[in-house]
């Protein structure tokens, strides 16, 4: 039995307008769990609640009801002031728009979370080396974000996410701002990361991106609608199945099968 890493229990998120007159349910009873070493893609149309879910998993947002547990620790039990530290130690983030700071060189961007955790300089440099090598950005470390391409920026952002050796990597549309070549390159890196034992949860629009995952969760109208496992299929066959599933999803679920 594989060890369970992350579990979502009955997550519900309701947004209220300022005066509380109107409410909108973004997530309605989401349940799923993630085992260590998994690579899961979450797909769904715009407005389905993907981003809300990711924000909750990232502890950036609180669910209205329900619990998120990481290795058995409930997010609700972590005091507000320790949340930032918790995020830093346990979660790695990759964003659609990279979120690199223009004021830092790529190296400093990557080291940022370690600096915030007050890691000794030697330790930081020891960790940087293999990460940079794996992401093929050793030669770019002294460059600034505005001097490199989108793909390179995203690789630096991935380096920043993995350098803290987080328990889980959360990626929000990581290929959203990349051309197809850079996307493929990034997804191969994700796969390599996953093969080296990292757990990845990726929210995406793209069936191509999702086809690199081992499991795809489909979310619709705030709830998990269905999920499929890759099994022994290759990318191409899995891609086909994902596309079929999306068709079903957008047909309103009348045609299941």
């Amino acid at each position: 039995m594989v060890q369970e890493l992350l579990r979502c229990e009955n997550i519900k998120k309701v947004y209220h307008t300022k005066l509380g007159l109107q409410s909108y349910t973004a997530l309605n009873d989401v349940n799923f769990s993630l085992a260590a070493g998994e690579f899961v893609a979450v797909m769904g149309p715009s407005g389905s609640g993907k981003t809300t879910l990711l924000n909750i998993l990232a502890s950036l947002d609180q669910p209205t009801s329900g619990n998120v547990l990481l290795e058995g620790q409930n997010f609700r039990d972590i005091p507000e002031k320790d949340l930032a530290q918790f995020r830093r130690d346990n979660l790695g983030f990759v964003f659609q728009d990279f979120n690199l700071l223009d004021t830092f060189s790529l190296k400093d961007n990557i080291l940022l979370p370690l600096v915030l955790s007050q890691t000794p300089v030697k330790e930081m440099e020891r960790r940087l080396q293999p990460v940079a090598a794996m992401l093929h950005i050793e030669d770019l470390l002294t460059k600034y974000p505005y001097e490199v391409s989108g793909g390179e920026k995203q690789r630096a952002a991935v380096a920043r996410a993995v350098i803290t050796e987080p328990k889980i990597i959360l990626a929000d549309e990581p290929t959203g701002a990349l051309d197809s070549k850079s996307s493929t390159n990034l997804l191969q890196i994700f796969r390599a990361l996953n093969e080296s034992g990292k757990t990845i949860l990726m929210v995406t629009h793209s069936s191509m991106a999702a086809s690199y995952a081992k499991r795809v969760l489909f979310i619709k109208d705030g709830a998990i609608y269905s999920q499929i496992y890759r099994g022994e299929e290759d990318n191409h066959a899995f891609f086909e199945r994902i596309v079929n599933n999306i068709t079903v999803l957008s047909n309103g679920g009348v045609d299941i099968g």
């Binding site: 950036l60 002031k81 949340l83 930032a84 530290q85 995020r87 830093r88 983030f93 964003f95 979120n99 690199l100 700071l101 223009d102 004021t103 830092f104 400093d108 080291l111 940022l112 979370p113 600096v115 915030l116 007050q118 890691t119 300089v121 930081m124 600034y144 974000p145 505005y146 001097e147 920043r160």
Partner: protein
């Protein structure tokens, strides 16, 4: 129809960007108001009627020119700032199908509205407060003859002229800027990063050399004439140095800090140093401007205040006695001691006749002239029987008695002297004092006025900086939070950064002022002001007051900054 459309668009734009247009409007109003007033005062007949009004008028005229130059530069700065912020908006308009001509038309309308409204409000406020200010000026000039507050048409014309100039220049710049760019460039222009500027180290070295030279001379020159001669040159050196050190020196220092890994990779320093890097690359010259303006402000106000406050002392140093009578005997004319005794007696009698008396008490007199007299020195010096001091060919004495008696006696001096058959001239402290106060009061007024102007500009520059940086930092801090920085850390970092960026100019300004205090004292000796304690006191107090105002402005504008950065 179409015209109304662009006007409406302009109005909507201004309303939407209140946060930056209100200070723009205020800047226009304040600058036009102050400019209008100074023009009004210079051209007014009221001032000409004042004793030495012409002197004051000349000083003011020089001031007007400087003022106008400053105003134009500053309005250009604000305009540049506004345009930078709105580039993306223009890009969007372009993409949505508004042609460049239309954007241009909209911009011109905006310009008309903001500048027009600003000038009108400025002039209105100036007319209301002008009267008050004029009375203040009269007080400063230490005399209140029948002067009136009338502002001639020249003032309206000059103010209008200045702002038409500002309008034309900014409009042309904006139109050109819109025309040479394409929408896509505009859309992404704000995102563009800043490359390291070149020649950083040489520029820093030049800065240090300039500053060193300026400071060295400022601290070593002790001849008033030399000091006055080189002061402007030293000021230019300091301006060059300040600019170079802010732009290049800061980068050099930050680079060195960044190389010290143990220090750099600490959470607080890490973000602060890199933040400062960004700031210095983009805003160093803005900070240098704040610093230079602050220095000018402190020095101008302190100098004019000390001249004004030291006026009496300065008068007494040059004229130790109330009345001086200079004798000019002909080449072959010998002045016998009898003649002197007779003059002495006649003067005393005349004084007694008016109800006054003469005195020649050297006690309590200071200044070089009094010392010469007391020490005898090289001059032929004697105290005559009826309290008249003779020093070489000058007779000096104080008059004791009522003001009327004083005036009456003065009028009799020619009658007393003429019979003795020696050519003479005489001066009395009261009329000199009136002239002197017209001069130093005028200077003080100008100094304070410029002080206010510099202050307003400094405040506006600080305000605009806070806003620009707020928008830039908003994104940065959002990212930092996502990456795992907590609220407290973010706030600490922000505070640290703001503190450095905004207090650096003040710190450097005070440093410049301290370095300049010696040469200022020496220069003022050239104006017969020998009381260094007074001068240093004025400098100290001005610095302190300025620091307090700066602090208040900083606190107020920091609020705006926080409001923008808050996510």
């Amino acid at each position: 129809m179409a015209k109304a459309f662009y006007l409406k668009l302009a109005v909507a734009n201004i309303k939407r960007s209140r946060e930056i247009y209100i200070p723009h409007f205020l800047a226009t109003a304040i600058i036009s108001g102050v400019f209008f007033l100074i023009c009004g005062l210079v051209s007014s007949d009221g001032l000409t009627n004042l004793p030495s009004g012409v002197t004051a008028q000349t000083i003011f005229s020089a001031g007007i020119f400087l003022f106008a130059v400053f105003s134009v530069i500053f309005m250009l700065y604000i305009n540049g700032f506004l345009m930078k912020r709105r580039k993306r908006e223009f890009g969007l308009y372009g993409v949505l199908g508004l042609s460049k001509r239309h954007i241009g038309r909209m911009l011109v309308w905006e310009n008309v509205l903001v500048l027009g409204l600003g000038v009108v409000c400025g002039i209105a406020a100036a007319l209301i407060f002008g009267k008050l200010l004029f009375l203040l000026l009269l007080r400063a000039i230490h005399t209140a003859p029948n002067s009136e507050f009338i502002i001639g048409p020249e003032a309206y014309l000059m103010t209008l002229g200045l702002f038409v100039l500002v309008f034309v220049v900014t409009s042309v710049i904006n139109l050109v800027r819109v025309h040479i760019s394409n929408p896509i460039q505009l859309l992404y222009s704000e995102k563009k990063g800043d490359k390291d500027s070149r020649f950083i180290v040489p520029r820093a070295v030049v800065g240090i050399i300039c500053l060193g030279v300026a400071y060295f001379f400022a601290l070593t020159i002790d001849i008033p004439a030399t000091a006055i001669g080189v002061f402007l040159l030293l000021a230019v050196l300091v301006i060059i140095a300040t600019n170079a050190l802010f732009v290049a020196g800061s980068i050099v220092v930050l680079r060195l800090l960044r190389k010290r890994k143990k220090l750099y990779y600490k959470p607080k320093n890490f973000i602060a140093i890199s933040g400062m890097f960004q700031r210095m690359k983009q805003n160093a010259s803005g900070l240098a401007v704040i610093c230079i303006l602050s220095t000018m402000l402190i020095i101008t106000v302190a100098t004019t205040t000390s001249l004004y406050l030291g006026q009496e002392e300065q008068l007494r140093a040059s004229y130790p006695f109330d009345v001086e009578i200079w004798l000019y005997p002909d080449a072959d004319q010998e002045i016998s001691s009898q003649t002197l005794v007779a003059i002495d007696r006649d003067l005393a009698e005349a004084a007694a006749g008016c109800g006054a008396s003469l005195s020649a008490d050297l006690e309590g007199k200071s200044g070089p002239a009094a010392e010469e007299i007391a020490n005898g020195s090289t001059y032929d010096y004697e105290l005559l029987e009826h309290s008249v001091v003779r020093m070489n060919m000058v007779l000096m004495f104080d008059i004791e008695g009522s003001d009327e008696a004083y005036q009456e006696f003065l009028e009799q001096i020619p009658d007393v002297m003429t019979p003795h058959g020696i050519s003479f001239s005489y001066s009395d402290i009261e009329s000199i004092r009136v002239d002197a106060y017209a001069f130093s009061g005028g200077l003080l007024f100008l100094g304070v006025f410029f002080g206010i102007l510099f202050l307003v500009i400094t405040i506006l520059v600080i305000y605009f900086k806070q806003i620009t940086e707020g928008y830039e930092d908003k994104e940065r801090f959002a990212i930092l939070q996502k990456v795992g920085m907590n609220d407290t850390q973010v706030k600490e970092t922000i505070n640290r950064q703001i503190l450095w960026v905004f207090f650096l100019p003040l710190l450097v300004a005070v440093c410049h002022t301290v370095a300049a205090s010696k040469i200022i004292c020496v220069m003022l000796q050239g104006f017969e002001l020998y009381n260094s304690t007074l001068v240093l006191g004025c400098i100290g107090i001005t610095c302190a007051i300025f620091a307090v105002i700066y602090l208040i402005v900083f606190r107020l504008t920091a609020k705006v900054y926080y409001r923008i950065v808050k996510w």
